[in-house]
Amino acid sequence: MDMSMEPMADGVVRVVLRGRLDSPGVDSIETRLTASLVPRGESAIVDLSGVEFAGSMAIRMFITIAKALARKDRRLALYAPQPAVAETFEMVALDSIIPVAADAAGAVERVRA
């Protein structure tokens, strides 16, 4: 599982994930991702276009991070999921609790809403 991060304008950070967010994949990035995002206190958007699989462990990780950011009045949004990942998110109606956008611009709009 690969992860990279870059600051954007106006206090938003962009994270790019690549690989499989199955149990081993989540285990390999969760601590690093949480430690990179939560303490800095900025809203974050996550590019999922390179993620070919996401299971319930991935959803649990995103909900945990979103809750931690919300306590700092910041938001998390996901964007560009592949069709199979989008289907998984739809099964649990994830978009009703964490914004899932089609692209980066849409995700930035959702975290600033």
Binding site: S23, P24, E52, F53, S56, I63, K67, P83, V92, I97
Partner: protein, 140 residues
């Protein structure tokens, strides 16, 4: 999709299962659903059914025919019936969202049928049947 079967046996975390699924199920979207069921059920076995101090021994059979895809999970862990778990109510807000507990609900949504029994050999046997395409239960 072509008719066929595979058998996987492993201890702890499985490895190499994806290439086996690729050989059996050509359609990416259908294969991802099978992988999702596999991931969620094996993760549950590892978390809940593994005997103390030792990883559960798990055998998985995947059978494909025109009528659908059947995954049979057989493990030597402590009795654990995932069909007895309450299905989580979808959260409407981030504040009310539970952390975890979503996996079995996903499997139920994808599956046409989920059956559990404790065998006479003191093993857990879970049989999950998926339709050949599509999702058994529409998104709520």
């Amino acid at each position: 999709m072509v008719a066929g079967s595979i058998r996987l046996e492993f201890s702890g975390t499985p490895d190499g299962f994806r290439s086996a699924f690729e050989a059996l199920i050509a359609e990416t979207r259908v294969r991802r659903r099978v992988e999702l069921v596999f991931e969620e059920i094996v993760a549950n076995i590892v978390r809940h059914a593994a005997p103390a101090g030792a990883p559960a021994q798990v055998a998985v059979a995947v059978d494909v025919d025109d009528g659908g895809i059947t995954l049979t999970f057989d493990d030597d862990g402590v009795p654990f019936d995932p069909t007895a778990l309450a299905e989580p109510v979808p959260a409407k807000t981030l504040d009310g969202a539970p952390i975890g507990g979503l996996g079995v609900g996903m499997v139920r949504r994808l599956a046409r049928q989920v059956e559990y029994r404790r065998t006479g050999e003191s093993r857990n046997r879970l049989v999950v049947t998926l339709p050949p395409s599509g999702i058994a239960s529409p998104v709520r």
